[in-house]
């Protein structure tokens, strides 16, 4: 799952060391448009329904947090 999430993130914005990034949202690496693109790809890839309620920095700051969010919704 982690590899797929990394592929989605790289597809939305290249050139970021996603594996080691700890504050993708807090540091402004991903902006709101990027987040919407990531969420839309995650929804399609994992057949989940990420709602606006889940769009909080702590769910998207790291790849592991994104993986944990998807698992909690599956």
């Amino acid at each position: 799952m982690k590899e797929k999430v990394l592929a989605i993130l790289n597809g939305v914005k290249k050139g970021v060391d996603y594996e080691h990034a700890t504050a993708l949202i807090d540091d402004g690496i991903l902006d709101s448009f990027d987040i919407i693109s990531v969420v839309s790809d995650l929804n399609d890839e994992f057949d989940v329904d990420i709602s606006a309620d889940e769009l909080e920095p702590e769910n998207f700051n790291t790849v592991d947090a994104i993986v944990a969010l998807i698992k909690s919704l599956q």
Partner: protein, 524 residues
């Protein structure tokens, strides 16, 4: 009671003394009483609106919490897909509480802020003579309304527990420093600090007082002088014949004025809160060093941007209709452009709302649209811009390109002033007058000293604008200026403090009774 008045400074000194001298248990009660006193100092007639907000949000949040507890209990017993079903069922029901909260509070906001605008427009359009309501606009209306709606939505989402003590909720909604012009703090960011017990801390007192001093300097030395020049040009350009560079200079000055005015107010309230031990959310992060309009809106009025993103842009972008639109666009336009259309539209609506939030006037609609087009186009045309940079051999990380981007953004922000400084007919006139004459000599022939501020005061203003920008530049480089001053020896430290105090006393512009003009963002 304006926060740039002698009355307010006396009020703050007495409050700080009481806050730390009385038992710590009473600290939040002191803040609540001070907030009530501050609010009532603007008159008691508008206090009903904030009371309706506090009471409605208190009971709606409690009801939502009860539903959340029931939902959790049922979900604990369920398994797999059943959990999703239960969540869906409850969400349907819970949404009505949020709808009610938004209807009540946004209803008050819209009625008070926009009813007269709508009535005026109807009268003008259809020739009717409907009477305007002339309702009194309560201080900080949109700030506390946004805070309280955010609070209910966060309880709905199960992100925070509902506050069980209505007086504590009243303190969060009506905390007086943040009441005037924000910041629009989220409940989870400040509530604990508001209700906690705080020990007196000398360093905090010094840092807080310094920040307040810096805020007063921005407001009283820069903004007050700039306002005189801006008003002179803005309201008399047709009769006095101001043209060309005079108007352009006024527009650039307006950018510095609004920044000094708004961020100065923020420094005062954040500094005062720092003395109490309460850390409010920062509202500015060197906005004039942004490299794009999108970045500018992430650094300017940060808490409004965050509120709009969390409670408008994200829900709208992920709503069923926008998701459907996104899928259709991806099929027709391909992945890279197609997936940007829906969020661009959501961004458009969000900026339209931000524009309307800035004022009850149709002139703010083009202001919102202007920003929405810039933000959406920067995303939609990203690939095109990248190919242009390659074509012209521009390196993304070169210093020259960075400086160009910063200047370009500042100029675009300044051009936006044409949309918000004037009413529609004057706006066209101002643009025409700007291009009607090429008169760069106004910068050397003394014309600028005839716009209501004499030569000496003009240069005081310019010097402090330069100081403001240099201080932002230093912060941009990651230096914490107040800590850097604190590390100096006592002689240097006190030279800096005394220089700042004397500068404020000598150069500050305040009328009789130490009352300066109100803050621009106070009206919102």
């Amino acid at each position: 009671m304006s926060i740039v008045s002698l009355k307010f400074i006396c009020f703050a000194i007495v409050l700080v003394a009481l806050f730390f001298l009385l038992p710590k248990k009473c600290q939040w009660v002191i803040l609540l009483l001070a907030s009530a006193a501050f609010y009532l100092s603007f008159g008691w007639k508008s206090c009903w609106y904030i009371l309706v907000t506090i009471i409605s949000q208190f009971f709606l949040a409690l009801a939502l919490e009860r539903r959340n507890t029931e939902m959790k209990a049922r979900m604990d017993k369920a398994e797999g897909k059943q959990k999703k079903e239960i969540k869906k069922q409850f969400a349907k029901h819970k949404k009505w509480y949020v709808v009610l909260s938004v209807l009540i509070n946004l209803g008050i906001l819209i009625a008070l802020k926009y009813a007269d605008l709508a009535i005026g427009s109807i009268n003008q359009r259809f020739g009717t003579t409907l009477a305007t309501l002339d309702l009194l606009l309560p201080i900080g209306l949109s700030y506390y309304t946004f805070k309280s709606i955010g609070y209910v939505i966060d309880v709905y989402r199960g992100r925070i527990p509902a506050q069980k003590n209505i007086f504590k909720l009243a303190l969060y909604i009506g905390y007086f420093p943040a009441l005037v012009q924000g910041p629009i703090d989220r409940y989870e960011d400040v509530a604990e600090q508001l209700f906690a017990e705080h020990k007196f801390d000398y360093d905090r007192l010094c840092f807080g007082a310094q920040r307040m001093l810096w805020g007063y300097m921005k407001k009283l030395i820069i903004a007050e002088r700039a306002t005189i020049i801006i008003n002179t040009v803005q309201y008399n350009f047709t009769t006095a014949g101001y043209e060309g560079f005079t108007i352009l200079f006024m527009m650039f000055l307006a950018s510095f004025r609004i920044y000094a005015d708004f961020s100065g107010g923020m420094d005062i309230v954040i500094g005062l809160s720092e003395i109490f031990g309460i850390k409010l959310t920062e509202n500015f992060e060197q906005p004039f060093f942004s490299t794009s309009i999108s970045e500018y809106w992430q650094r300017w009025h940060i808490t409004l941007g965050a509120w709009m993103r969390t409670y408008v842009f994200y829900p709208l972008s992920l709503s069923q209709s926008f998701s459907k639109l996104g899928r259709k666009c991806r099929q027709k336009l391909g992945d890279s452009y197609g997936k940007q259309i829906a969020p661009s539209l959501a961004s458009f609506i969000t900026f339209f709302l931000v524009g309307m939030w800035h004022g009850a006037g149709w002139a703010y609609v083009p202001f919102g649209i202007f920003n929405a087009i810039l933000v959406a186009s920067s995303t939609l045309l990203e690939d095109f811009y990248a190919s242009c940079r390659t074509k012209f051999k521009i390196e993304d990380d070169s210093k020259g390109w960075h400086v160009f981007q910063v200047l370009r953004t500042f100029i675009i922000v300044t051009l936006g002033n044409y949309l918000i400084l004037t009413k529609e007919p004057d706006m066209i006139g101002l643009i025409m007058a700007t291009f009607s004459r090429f008169n760069p000599w106004i910068f050397v022939n003394g014309s600028l000293y005839t716009l209501g501020v004499d030569q000496k005061n003009f240069w005081v203003m310019i010097i402090f604008i330069v100081i403001l920008m240099v201080s932002d530049f230093i912060k941009e480089k990651g230096v914490h200026i107040r800590q850097a001053i604190a590390r100096q020896n006592i002689a240097v430290r006190w030279c800096v403090y005394l220089a700042a105090i004397f500068a404020l006393v000598i150069f500050g512009m305040y009328g009789p009774g130490f009352d300066a003009a109100s803050f621009i963002y106070e009206r919102f």
